[in-house]
Structure formats: C-alpha cells, structure tokens
C-alpha cells in the first residue's frame, strides 16, 4: 500500500492513513499511560516503533520511509493533542499532559521546566501563519522524528534550508513557550 501511494494512487493514502493512525494511537496510549514527569516525551520513538511494526506487513518500505514519516508526523501531532485534551477534560480540575524538555544534568542553565503539548500545538498554529514551511519542519522533525535528510526529502528542499528553518523555528517556539504566562 505504501508503494502504491508513492506511485500516485490517491486512494492509497486514505486507505493507509487509518492503518497508521490505529497503530500510532495504540502506541501513544501505551506511552502516555506510563508517562511520568521528568521523563522526556519522544514522539519520534513512537513513530519509529510504529514504522517497524507496519514493516512486518509491508516489506517494500525503504523508498517510502520518508513519506511514511511525513504522514505519521501529522497524525502523531493530532493524537498527542487529542490525548492531552482528553486528559484535560477527564481529570479533576486541570490536568494537562506535561512534557519535559531534555536537559543536560551537568549544566544548570535556566530552562522552562516543561511545555505541554497543547501549548506547543497552539504555538505551532501561530507559526504556521508566519511561516508555514518552518511549522511543517518542526512537525516533521519533532512529531515525526525525521532526520534532516528525510525532512528535506519530504519537503522537497535542501538539507541546509531544513537546518536553517529548524534553527529559527526552534528558537522562536522556545521563546513563545518559555514566556511567562
């Protein structure tokens, strides 16, 4: 199915999506269930795992890897935002999902302790209006776990553009999310 999609079968994507979604959703749920504060959320690891599972039924994979991750990134974002919303409404009071940022233990610089998925999602929405390409780069890299090269392939740009886009978007989002409320 993945290669049919690459070959231009428009139906293939819509048939593929629920499959990937289901897989990702299951993984995300399992992940969120054991999520603890202080643990770093790595959506990319989930996407990776989903990919490996899907490979079992779809051996013809390598050409489509980047594309698969491209779709997954968007789905993963949606799943995590959805889960965060559910948590938010189900919990007593306000219980948004916490996501910690990675941090080296040797360096005691001041960093925002965490950002929640919902805040990131809405900051990404704002970024999309300013620079859609940068927003998509973050989505692919963070939610999809794509390497610079894969991101460049999906976006149809050069690696150095991806690097620049990521660098600026990263700084800008960091600025948005660490701003005191």
């Amino acid at each position: 199915m993945l290669s049919a999609w690459r070959d231009g079968d428009p139906e293939a994507l819509s048939r593929l999506t629920p499959l990937v979604y289901g897989e990702l959703h299951g993984l995300a749920q399992a992940y969120l269930a054991r999520e603890r504060p202080g643990h770093i959320l790595q959506p990319s690891a989930l996407v990776n795992e989903a990919f490996l599972r899907l490979l079992e039924w779809q051996p013809d994979h390598w050409q489509n890897r980047a594309h698969f991750f491209g779709v997954s990134a968007t789905l993963m974002r949606r799943i995590l935002v959805q889960s965060a919303r559910e948590q938010h409404t189900l919990k007593r009071g306000q219980g948004a999902l916490r996501v910690s940022l990675s941090e080296a233990s040797d360096v005691a610089a001041q960093q925002p302790e965490g950002a929640d998925v919902l805040a990131l999602d809405s900051a990404l929405d704002s970024l999309e209006k300013l620079n859609p390409r940068q927003a998509r780069t973050i989505e692919l890299r963070f939610f999809g776990g794509l390497s610079l090269e894969d991101t460049a392939e999906v976006m149809g740009t050069s690696v150095s553009t991806v690097r620049r886009d990521f660098r600026m978007a990263q700084a800008w989002l960091y600025q948005q999310l660490s701003r005191p409320a």
Binding site: Q42, G95, L97, S102
Partner: protein, 925 residues
C-alpha cells in the same frame, strides 16, 4: 507580527548566526539601521537559540545500540561525553545509563585503567552507590561506561526544588557521606564528587541519594593534569570548584581519601549556602592558573556569613554559626587538618543534628554548657508544667475525697510516687544520654509512660487518688496529642470513679466527658454521639441546665453533629449553647468564644462564607484581647479565619495568616501536634491551589509523615490529607499514585465516616471522574450515589452538588445516554431558579447542557446558543475554580465548531478563549 516581518527577522537571525559571536552586535547595529525594535527582536531570538539547545529536536537515530545495549534516548550531554538511557537485555532486562566518552581521549588507556579498578569497584555494595556495570568501546572506538540508571536530579537542584530546610539537607547529605565512606573502605576513591554526580531520586516520597560515576575519574584522568581534556571552560569550572588543592596541583597522582573529604566539604558548603566555597561567578573570569592558585590558597568565607551575604538567594533564614565548623574543617587546604575520614565528618553532623557540641571546633567548657542548656530548655519547661498538673490533681482529690488524717498519708504516698517514678525521669541528669535526638517531649513522654505503668497497684485503697492521677496523665497525654494512651488512662479513671462514686457524680461525669471527647478527637464521631447524648441528659439531671459542665457537654454534642456533617442540628444546638454561655459566663468568656468559633465552622462547611468570616474575625479579635497572640486558642482562630480567606480565594491574606500561625505553632507545640498539623495541611492545600506544587508537596508529605505520631492511619483528617495529596499527585502527573491514594482515602472514609458523610461523597465524585473511562459502570453508580447524598446534605445549590451533577452528566453523555444526561441537568437548573448568589452555577450547568446537545448532531441548533450564552455571560475572576469552569465552557465552543466542520471559526474561538483565560488569570494574580 506579519509574515514579512518574521521573514526579515529570520534573515538577520541567520546572517548573525553565521558570524562569529563577537561580530554579531556590530552587524546587527548596522543592518537594523536604527530600528531598535527589530534589533531587540533578533537579539532575543538569538539568545533563545542559545538556550533552546535540543528543544524539539528529535534524538538522531545515529546509533540504536552500543554493544549489547539498546539505546532508548539521550539523557544529557556533559563535559566528558553523552549519556544515554539504554536497555540491557541479558542477563537481565533493565534500564541502564550509558556514558559515551567524547573522541580524543585514548579509549584503550581509559578502558585499561578502568579494568584495573574493576575488582575494587565490584566489592562495593551500598544502597546509595550506583554501580558502574560495564565498560567497552563503541564500533567507532569511543569508550563507554554502563551504569545503574538513576532517574533523579543533582542533589543541589533537588534540595532547591523541594525547598529543603538546613536539617533536611544535612539529613540527605549524611547517606551520601556514608556511601563514600563505604567506597573508601573498599579501597575506591571517587575523585570527582560534585552535585551532578550525586543524584537524588524520589522513592515513595522519600529522597534517596545515589552517588554515580565511581571509578570513572580515575579511568579518565591521566597521570598529569589533563590539559588536553580541560578544553572546555565549563568542565574546568564544574570540577575545580569541588577539587582539593592536592588534586588540582598533582592532577590526581598524589591523592587519598581525604581528597574526597574535601569535595564532600565543598558539596556540603554549597548545600548550606547555595554557592560553592570559591565563588563561581568570580571563577569564571579568571584563567586556569589563577584558578589553580585560588583553589590552593583562598580560604572560604564561613558558610553562615556567605549565606547572609547572598540574601538574594533562594535560601532563607540564617545558618547556625556552629555548623560553620564542619564544612570548614573538611575544606582545610592541608589534608592533615581535615577530618581523617568521611566517617568523622558524619559523626560531627550527627552530633550537630542531635544538638550536641561538634568536634570540629575546639570546644570550650562554656560552649558545651551553653549547648546543653539550649538542648534541654524546652524539656525543662514542659516537665515543670506536667508536674504542676500532677500536684494539682493530688490536692483536688485529697480535698474532695478524704478526711484530713487520711489526706496526710495519701499525700505522702503520692509524694513518694512522684519522686521515685516521675521526678527521677524528669531530671535532665538522668535522661541526657549521648546520641539522643533533642526531642522536646522526651522528658515528659518518658515520665508519663513511666507514671502510667507505675501507677498500677500503687493505690489499691484509694481509687479516687488513683483516678485523679490517671485523669491527670490522660490530660497530659492529650495535651501532647498522644490520644490512644490518653484514652486508655481516661477509660481506667472513669471505671474507678464510676465504681466508687456512681454514674452521676460530677467527677464521673467529667471522666465521661473526657472519654467521649477523646473518642471524638480520634475520629470515631459516630461512636461519640451517643456518649455525648447520654452525658448531656445525665448532666442536666444531676448538675442542672446552666451548670458549666452541662453546657460543655451540650457544646460537645453539637460539635459531634458538625463533625458528622449534620449541619442544621449542629447550628441550632450551637446557637442555644452560645446564648446560655453568654448569659451564665459572659460574652467574652473563653467558652462563649469557643462556641461562637464552632458556629463559624459550621457556616464554613456550608460555604456561607460571609457569616463564617464575621464570626471568626470577632473570635480572633476577642482572643487577641483577652488571651495573647501566642495562645493556642488565638492561633486556632487565626487558622480558621485564614481558611475562610482561603476558600474566598483571598490567597495572600490566607497565606500570611497561615504562616504566622504555623511559625508560632511549630515553635510552641512542635510539629506532630494536631493543631500544627491542621495549619500545615491548610497551607499545603493553599499552595496546591496556587500551583506551587513543589512547596505543597514538601509540606503535605511532611504533614503525612508527622501524623503517624498523633492519629490512627484512618483518622478522617488523615484521609482528607490523602485526598488532597492524591489531587496534588495528579497535578504532578503521578496518575497511578493519584488513583491509589484516592481509592485508599475513599475506602477509609466509607469505613470510618460512613457512606453519607460529605467527605466520602466528594471523594466519590472525584473517583467517578477518574474512572469515567476505565470503569464506566462503577463511575456512574458512584456519581449517582454521590449526587443523591450531596443533594440531601447540602441542598441542590451547593457547589459540590453542582459539580456532582456535571460529573454525572459527562459520564452519561460518554455512554450516549443523552436524554438522561439532559434530564439531570435540567432538573438541577430548575433548582437554581430563584436562588440567590448562584448565577455562576446556572451558567456552568447551561454550558454542560450545551455539551450534551452538541454530542447529538440533530440538536446542534439548540446547542449553539446555549454554549455561546453560557460562555459570554460567565465572569470569572474571583477564583481559580471559576476560571477552570470558564475555560471548560470556552473549550466546549471550540470543540463544537470543530465537530461541526468549521475549523476557521474553531480557531478563532480558540484564540479568544485563550486570551480571555490568560486575562482572568492575570487579574487573579
């Protein structure tokens, strides 16, 4: 901001980043050509680029396994290399930390040195040591070390985050020393003790320190100072601040265990003062050789002085001068003058904690004497009070019960008893033993226990003397908050008096009152009610309706109604008792004020806060006038008034009052005292409400730990603490703990308070919320029962009742029982009509109804106006709970438009709701 502007900032940002850091300023000044705003925006973005580091960057899947270890994710990057979380599959499956050393450090030599020390490392076995398990080289030839994974924070950050007191810091530091001492005994010197190598993880609320990286320093450091590896200023700084002079000078060729003593001293110094002995800010400015000089020559400032100087730091309060000696001795430049072993340092710290003179300073005679008196002053005071009580009891019983000649004999018997069995214990010369912690209650408790045991059989022919002494002991235990022992003695005293004087004698009645009060105070409210009812009837009959003892029994009965949540009868009884007290004893008599205070607490429970506040303020003012600021009753009034402010969301006022009361209570009562515990609990809850989670956790955990000494594990107040702790855990993301604790609290409440108590009912609503998905049937049953109970207890317009309606409606909606959900909300809406002061709840219900309708596409037309009207009409700003309700109402609008397939409208609403909520929160702060 426009896309064009963003684009322009991006160009400048990119161009600046391509330049050397020193050239950026000049470039930007020129490129921005006077547009200061633009320049500031770029500079800010550049700064955030520096800070963002790995933010949102995926961990590059460069390597997915190293040797037999599967890489999970990166944990951090330090001076020496990168640390990963990895999974070991065999021989056992576990998570490990894997440290890959940076290129250029000679992996063969490193691994060889590590192998050399491996046998010694394998001998270490200590709970506070994280083991290095393995070492090897990656496919690229980089050396790596595999260590036990410690999911924790550097000890300094941990103490900061948890707001640890000096005592807590020392208590955490001692096991760290013990770990190092253990290693020393096995012949292993750590060589690189610093905060990032001492991680603290939290296990079931306890802070467990773990020393990591044993053996790494030796393996990594070549024989001479590794100028080659010291290429990074950060690494030099991070290490030199904790390094002994001999280590800095020789690079490790001539060091022994006393070098670790030095590093521990530096760590302790930082824990106590918030900064390292050599000021890190100044260090950063100097070159390597100047640094070395300072490490070797500069004497550190005394910790107590440093702490005072850095008043701006997070640490508050002053440091005991005496504590100065310990880190200073460890930090001596000449190793002969340091502690000979880590153990010596531990012993001194323990001495300090025990309030004994430390060895570090040459102790003079006067100094020792000063310490001794300070340690025992409190015990002296409490012991004297207790003895007065006993003597008074004897005098009373003697004058009441016995004739003169007998009295003389009895007085002498009592004297002997007091001298031999009680006074001997109270004498500080007999109880001062080395290594005994300075427990304020030690003397008294020991004396009491001894007296309680000793009295049996001492007065076989004078049961009333026996009873009087037991009654005194019971009162003393009660004063200390040791209720089970108090109950035991009160029970025995009652039996003696009942047998000797009959059921209705005043002394018997007093004992009955005491016993019933003790049953109640231990949370057995349902058992205490019939005791008080019978007591009141007998008092009226034997003592008359206006006798103070009768009135006291009456007030106690009303209190037991209140504690059981029977508010209306409680209020009515309190009103009558208060009138009687006022008539008999006067308007400002302590008993009149206590009854008024109780009436205020009923209003408080009913959330009639204006009435509660008025009464509480009046009581507090009267107590300040007639008693003193530090009197326990004044403090209790302070806490009660603060609690009302708290619920009214006048947080700053509440916090100030709580803190004032708590400071005095800690000093006067000590921590494991019921009233101290209540203030502490309330303050912890206030901090939770303000999302000051770390402070809240510290306080509530302390409270929980201290309770064991006073209350049985299923005391209603302990259960309430569990409910609040559970909520806090939820906020902290500890979902499993949240559920477990709430279930535990609920089970206890059902058992102790019964299924109809307000505490039980509100726990049921919370449980229903949490189990909505996992156990929908149970959740629905819980919500239904809770709603029924709350409606009966509080009426249909109480906030808790409305919350229960909303929870149940949500559950029903999730189960697609729309009609039933709608019916329940409409019924509740009907009940709000014509009720004063509850428009907020009507709007909340309206929005909830909108959500139920929005779930049914054929009723979208009805849903839309409800959702919009509810949101528009809400005016949050009075408290956080309201803001949450407001935010929820806004989200419903957004979700509605999303479901309806109008993403643009949804997005527009989302922005608006976010802005509104932000505004409300700002107003509140």
């Amino acid at each position: 901001m426009t896309p064009e502007r963003y684009e322009r900032i991006g160009e400048l940002f990119d161009a600046a980043l391509d330049l050397a850091p020193d050239d950026r300023d000049g470039y930007l000044s020129q490129a921005c050509a006077g547009d200061e705003t633009l320049r500031a925006e770029v500079v800010l973005l550049l700064a955030n680029h520096q800070r963002a580091r790995n933010f949102l960057a995926p961990s590059e899947p460069l390597i997915d396994s190293i040797g037999p270890y599967k890489i999970q994710r990166q944990l951090g990057e330090g001076g020496m290399g990168t640390v990963y979380l990895a999974l070991q599959e065999t021989p056992l499956r576990r998570e490990v930390a894997l440290k890959v050393i940076k290129p250029g450090m000679g992996s063969k030599a490193i691994i060889a040195r590590f192998e050399g020390e491996r046998r010694a490392l394998a001998l270490m076995d200590h709970p506070n040591i994280a083991h290095v398990l393995d070492a090897g080289a990656t496919a690229q030839g980089l050396p790596y070390f595999v260590m036990e994974f410690v999911d924790g924070l550097p000890v300094t950050r941990y103490c900061e985050q948890h707001n640890f007191s000096v005592r807590q810091r020392i208590e955490l530091f001692i096991p760290i020393c013990q770990a190092i001492h253990h290693a020393h005994q096995k012949g292993v010197i750590h060589r690189d003790i610093k905060p990032s190598n001492v991680l603290v993880k939290q296990v079931e609320g306890l802070a467990i320190p773990k020393v990591i990286d044993f053996g790494l320093a030796k393996a990594l450091h070549p024989e001479t100072t590794g100028d080659t590896m010291m290429t990074n200023v950060g690494v030099i700084l991070g290490t030199l601040q904790y390094m002994s002079p001999e280590q800095a000078q020789t690079g490790g060729s001539d060091i022994d265990t006393r070098s670790d003593v030095f590093s521990l001293g530096a760590l302790l110094y930082e824990l106590l003062t918030g900064s390292t002995p050599l000021d890190a800010k100044r260090l950063a400015l100097e070159n390597y050789h100047a640094l070395l000089e300072r490490v070797c020559d500069e004497e550190p400032v005394a910790p107590s002085v440093r702490r005072r100087e850095s008043a701006a730091s997070a640490l508050s309060g002053t440091l005991d001068r005496e504590l100065d000696w310990i880190p200073l001795k460890a930090l001596e430049k000449e190793r002969d003058r340091r502690y000979e072993s880590v153990n010596g340092m531990v012993r001194d710290l323990e001495r300090y904690l025990a309030g004994e003179p430390v060895e570090a300073a040459p102790p003079s005679r006067a100094y020792r004497a000063r310490k001794f008196v300070r340690r025992n002053r409190l015990s002296f005071a409490v012991a004297s009070a207790f003895l007065l009580l006993l003597v008074a009891a004897v005098v009373v019983s003697a004058s009441l019960a016995v004739r003169a000649r007998q009295a003389e004999q009895e007085a002498s018997a009592v004297n002997t008893f007091l001298r031999r069995d009680v006074l001997a214990q109270a004498d500080p010369r007999n109880q001062a033993k080395p290594n005994t912690p300075p427990d304020a209650n030690l003397t008294v408790r020991t004396a009491l226990d001894r007296a309680a045991r000793g009295i049996a059989g001492k007065f076989p022919r004078e049961p009333l003397v026996d009873a009087a002494i037991r009654d005194s002991i019971a009162h003393a235990y009660q004063g200390l908050g040791i209720y089970p022992k108090a109950e035991e003695q009160a029970q025995r005293a009652l039996e003696l008096r009942r047998n000797t004087l009959g059921e209705s004698h005043r002394l018997t009645l007093e004992s009955r009152q005491m016993l019933a009060m003790l049953v109640s105070v231990q949370g057995r409210y349902r058992d205490s009610e019939p005791m008080f009812t019978a007591l009141l009837a007998d008092c009226r009959k034997s003592l008359g309706p206006d006798d103070p003892d009768t009135l006291e029994a009456w007030a106690a009965l009303a209190r037991s109604y209140n504690l059981q949540g029977k508010f209306e009868p409680a209020l009515e009884q309190f009103r009558q008792v208060e009138a009687a007290y006022s008539r008999v004893l006067g308007a400002e008599h302590p008993s009149t004020l206590s009854t008024m205070e109780s009436r205020g607490s009923v209003y408080f429970a009913q959330r009639k806060l204006d009435q509660a506040e008025a009464l509480q303020a009046k009581v507090l003012a009267a107590r300040k006038r007639t008693l003193s600021e530090e009197h326990p009753d004044t403090l209790r009034a302070m806490t009660s008034l603060a609690a009302t402010y708290h619920v009214q969301v006048r947080y700053p006022l509440a916090e100030e009052l709580y803190r004032r009361a708590l400071a005095i209570q800690r000093r006067v009562n000590g921590v494991p005292h019921p009233e101290t515990l209540i203030t502490m609990f309330n303050l912890g809850t206030l901090l939770t409400n303000q999302a000051r989670h770390a402070e809240a956790l510290t306080l509530l955990e302390e409270n929980r730990a201290a309770r064991g000494a006073v209350y049985p594990p299923d005391h209603p107040r302990t259960l309430r603490l569990l409910v609040n702790l559970s909520y806090l855990y939820g906020r902290l993301g500890r979902v499993a703990d949240e559920l477990r604790m709430l279930e535990e609290a609920y089970a206890g409440q059902r058992r102790v308070l019964g299924p109809d108590h307000p505490d039980t009912l509100t726990s049921m609503v919370s449980l229903a919320d949490l189990h909505a998905k996992s156990q929908p049937d149970r959740a629905e049953a819980l919500a239904r029962d809770a709603l029924k109970g709350l409606r009966g207890r509080f009426g249909p317009t109480h906030p808790d009742t409305v919350s229960a309606v909303c929870s149940l409606a949500k559950l029903l909606q999730a189960r697609k029982q729309y009609a039933e959900a709608e019916r329940i909300i409409r019924e509740s809406l009907g009940a709000q009509q014509g009720q004063a002061g509850t428009p907020g709840y009507r709007l909340r219900l309206m929005s909830q109804l909108g959500e139920v309708l929005a779930a049914q596409p054929d009723r979208w037309n009805e849903a839309e106006p409800l959702l919009l009207e509810a949101y528009e009409a809400m005016t949050p700003g009075k408290n956080l709970e309201e803001i949450e309700v407001f935010e929820e109402a806004g989200k419903r609008v957004v979700d509605f438009y999303t479901a309806k397939g109008l993403p643009a409208k949804a997005a527009e609403w989302r922005r608006r709701v976010e802005a509104d909520v932000l505004k409300s929160k700002t107003i509140l702060q």
